[in-house]
Amino acid sequence: MKKLLALMLALVMSLSLAACGAGDEEIAVDALDLSTASWEEIVEAARGTTVTFYGWGGDENRNNWLNTTVADYVKEHYDITLEVVGMNIDEILAKLSGEKQMGATSGSIDMIWINGENFYSAKENGLLYGPFTEKLPNMEAYIDLDDPETLNDFCMPIEGYEAPYARAQMVMMSDSAVTPEAPANADEFMEYCKKYAGKVTYPALPDFTGSAFVRNLIYELCGWEQFQTMEADYETVKAAIAPAIEYLRALNPYLWNEGKTFPDSSTTVDSMFADGELVMNMSYGPFSVATGIANGTYTDTTRTFVFDNGTIGNTNYMAIAFDSPNKAGAMVVINAILSGDIQLTQYETLRELPVVATDKLSAEEKAAFDAVEIGEGVLTQAELLAHRLPEMPASLVPVIEEIWLNEVVGK
């Protein structure tokens, strides 16, 4: 009994010691005025520091890439230690808004992986630091500064508050051994669902992928141009997407579980497709079929396809938290990730569409990008970019999600 007590005491003691230790870990806040500092001064200030990068942690390949390739690169070139923390964007925003409410001036988050409505909200509510991108030499060196996706994120002006990270594009996939046809437009998709009744569905909104897929069908039926400037008013949007609502309702009887219920997330749909419960799947990762075939989740006969009119593409970005304790370090790491070297490894190992502008690459760099073997069952980068449609304004997204919930499910 006494031994047990001694053990407990030892534990409690070690706890209080560790608590002190944790307090000492605080990173020194740099005294440098970032708005006037030169790039050399920023790099110098960042030397020897630690930078934390918060973002979705569910992709082992990306986690490994960040922890090895990127971390080694910034360690070697700038003596920066990169610490990657897996955290969903809504949790990151929840944490930052708590810090904002308490008036905290120094938090624990430096870099954030972000885009779309989350960027819109974070920028609106002062959760991001900026503008900072005009300081980064690689913005000028590698990125097309006039590209709409460099200027706007879901139609929200970026104004230097985030730098591009990777490009995504909605693609669809099926196993050509199970369903030889691949619908190229909304009408063919309807026929496809009728033929394979009960074996097609999409994730319930507000799932990210499900929401994008429904927006894609809306583009098919209502065109995309009118939405770029539309006001986020429930009735306005409802009137504009009326044909799409009609279509989705007509689709319901042929969907999995007769459209009474939709799977909760793209995750579940992925599993159902892999198990053969569904014959078609959709993804925001344009090369995800290659990854799936490579790790054995998908059959070798799985194929990627897009609609003839195109599918929605967007870019995801890197931002800096308003209370980042190491803004200089974050800027240096973001700049490094924009470089041709890192973008190439991202394309190679993660099979992500790079954000660098092809015409800004040297002949050597270009050859290296062209030489990448992207894998089985996917469309080429050129094919994807030729079928790429812009996103809607971020403020329309939740409105459409609400309309879908009220007007489509079970109707």
Binding site: S97, N118, N125, T268, P398, L405, G410
Partner: protein, 290 residues
């Protein structure tokens, strides 16, 4: 033993400190539900968010869903958990491998339990595959849809998998000490095992069972993970609606989400209070102690 006042104060101090921490935290959020978040430019106190929650027509349906999940999970877990606990004691499996086995589900996080449910019970799950292999069904769609249904059977089944062992484990220590002493005594005096269980062991174990029931009821009423992962798209459970509103990227929706959480909290408090009154009466009549 002399019972000094300061003893009580010392003994309760850490508990009260932690409770104060909790109340302070709830207060921090409660004011948000009245539309007060100065950091986001919301500075006016208003009850409009509560009005909006209560007027929402989906609210009642969601409440119904949550009550159903909580009640079915708690009742079935309590009954079957007590049975399991009695079986463990009677069959002298109070320790060893069986007890480790019973403790396993308590260890498994809810999100993993949801994965289990999908692996086994979905239309492409192992159970459906066994049915197909036995020739009971020809294809997946003939297997009954157990998950993602509006009756929330999937979520309830997942709760049962986790909570039956919890009840068993929770009441085991008390039930063992009761049945080992008084239960055995009753049997020595000639009572049948069944009778001794129902008239001695069970009533004396009741406080623990009742508490386990309450814990599960409240947990299943307020938990969002399993109904989110295994439930229907509509109607949603109350906590799922609150969770989705909370996770909305628009931070100015926060007061609405918190008002919804406030309603959940008040309902849970009311039910716990009602429950407390009822059980106290019942236990008093049975001569037990709450």
């Amino acid at each position: 033993m002399r019972k000094k006042k300061w003893h009580i104060a010392v003994l309760l101090a850490p508990f009260l400190a932690l409770t104060a921490l909790l109340l302070l935290s709830v207060w921090n959020v409660a004011i948000q539900s009245f539309g007060y978040i100065p950091a986001f430019g919301l500075t006016e106190f208003t009850t409009e968010h509560y009005a909006k929650v209560l007027q929402d027509e989906t609210f009642l349906r969601a409440l119904g869903v949550s009550l159903r999940i909580a009640l079915l999970s708690a009742v079935l877990s309590a009954v079957l958990g007590v049975l399991l606990s009695a079986a463990l004691i009677r069959c002298r499996k109070r320790d060893g491998a069986m007890l480790y086995l019973v403790r396993m589900p308590i260890l498994v996080p809810h999100a993993v339990v949801a994965v289990f449910a999908i692996n086994l019970l979905s239309q492409a799950g192992l159970v459906a595959r066994v049915a197909a292999a036995l020739g009971l069904i020809a294809e997946q769609s003939q297997f009954p849809q157990l998950l993602f249904t509006p009756d929330y059977g999937g979520a309830i089944a997942a709760y049962l998998w986790k909570e039956i062992p919890f009840v068993a484990y929770f009441v085991l220590a008390l039930m063992f000490s009761v049945s080992d002493t008084l239960g055995e005594a009753a049997e020595n005096l000639g009572a049948s095992p069944l009778r001794s269980f129902f008239s001695v062991t069970l009533p004396l174990t009741l406080p623990a069972i009742v508490k386990a029931f309450l814990i599960i009821f409240i947990f299943a009423f307020g938990g969002y993970e399993l109904p989110l992962l295994l439930g229907a798209t509509v109607p949603k459970a109350l906590p799922v609606q609150a969770y989705l509103a909370y996770m909305s990227p628009n931070l100015r929706d926060r007061p609405y989400a918190m008002a919804m959480n406030g309603v959940i909290l008040l309902l849970a408090l009311a039910m716990a209070a009602l429950y407390g009154v009822l059980t106290r009466r019942m236990l008093k009549r049975m001569g037990g102690r709450a």
